[in-house]
């Protein structure tokens, strides 16, 4: 099991390669969409790179639940419903949804996920695999 620092360093490499950003931009607080400019194809790229560098398997939609965010069943007036939020919490236990839950506009979702969230996500994956 790699240390937290080692996990962060590998994630930093994956994000620099996938997003073409500078290493010093990839801080734990940086949001993937807002600060680092990730788009949906980038999330796929990031998932591919994390799978390769950590030798883990990441089901599509686990890191970024695009299927929930585009499912009319879970959205009302551009916001996630309670049921939608519950689905996202279930899918992404590693993300802190406290702030987002106050006004869960779908278009703001991308600004939620930070590099630190991603580190927690990979840590959980590695622990489950160990």
């Amino acid at each position: 099991m790699p240390t937290k620092d080692e996990i962060f360093e590998k994630i930093q490499v994956a994000l620099v390669d996938a997003l073409g950003v500078d290493e010093d931009e990839v801080t734990p607080e940086a949001t993937l969409v807002g600060d680092l400019g990730a788009e949906s194809i980038d999330f796929l790229d990031i998932v591919f790179r994390l799978e390769k560098s950590f030798s883990i398997s990441i089901p599509r939609g686990e890191l970024f639940p695009e299927d929930i965010l585009t499912n009319a069943q879970y959205i009302k007036d551009g916001k996630l419903t309670e049921a939608g939020l519950a689905e996202v919490r279930k899918r992404m236990p590693f993300a802190d949804l406290t702030e987002f839950s106050k006004n869960p506009a779908v278009q703001d979702f991308g600004n939620l996920l930070t590099v630190a969230d991603m580190c927690r996500f990979v840590e959980t994956k590695l622990q489950n695999a160990a």
């Binding site: 194809i41 790229d45 591919f48 790179r49 390769k52």
Partner: protein, 251 residues
Amino acid sequence: MTRLADKKILITGGSRGIGRACVAKMAAEGGTVAFVYQSNQQAADELAAQLTAAGHDVRALQADVRDSARVHELVNQLVDQWGRLDVLVNSAGIVRDGLLGAMTPEQWADVIETNLGGTYNFCHAVVQQMMYQRAGSIVNLSSTAAEFASRGQANYAASKGAIDGLTRALAKELAPRKIRVNAVAPGMIETDMSAAVRGLAADQITKAIPLKRIGQPEEIANVVAFLASEEASYLTGQVIRVDGGISLGGY
């Protein structure tokens, strides 16, 4: 010409017809080629042996393109061996013609699953490696039947029309990763697949083609090789008709 020198190339439906011509052409252009065949092992082995004897790097691999797990396994093994994958040509295709009112669910499903499902399976399997290497070219085999009606080919036309849509959508998705996706839409080409239709209406078809002849598989392979090469570096999301002008219409 060796415009595909050092390129690692995977071609489906490679033992016969247009796919076979693509294998020969792309090997002759300097590419390292693996081609997929479904059932005709003898034809596949002969083609691989013949091209290997001529000094090319060609191998034959068996797979049913409808089998997603097998397709992923095959692609992963190739990527492990080659360390990269530059070109995918989706040429595997079948016809099961019949008027729609008399078409069985099996006739429908066979064609959709092989032509469209096979194309999806291989695109899905190569995308990870191509995204990783930030380079790649995918060429799908469409058909003029996607746009121009012919009786008895509702299943085939539907599969090829869907391939055109897939080509454009995937081109847009993958363009930021410098992967190009295009399709070639052949008209009437002299292959086993078109033999039945040509047998029924050869004179009529030839008359309707402005260039006044049926095309040869090599004439499609030339365009596929071009699309796969760096010469087509600014070309993506296009369906190129190679049909002797039959789609021009008019008088």
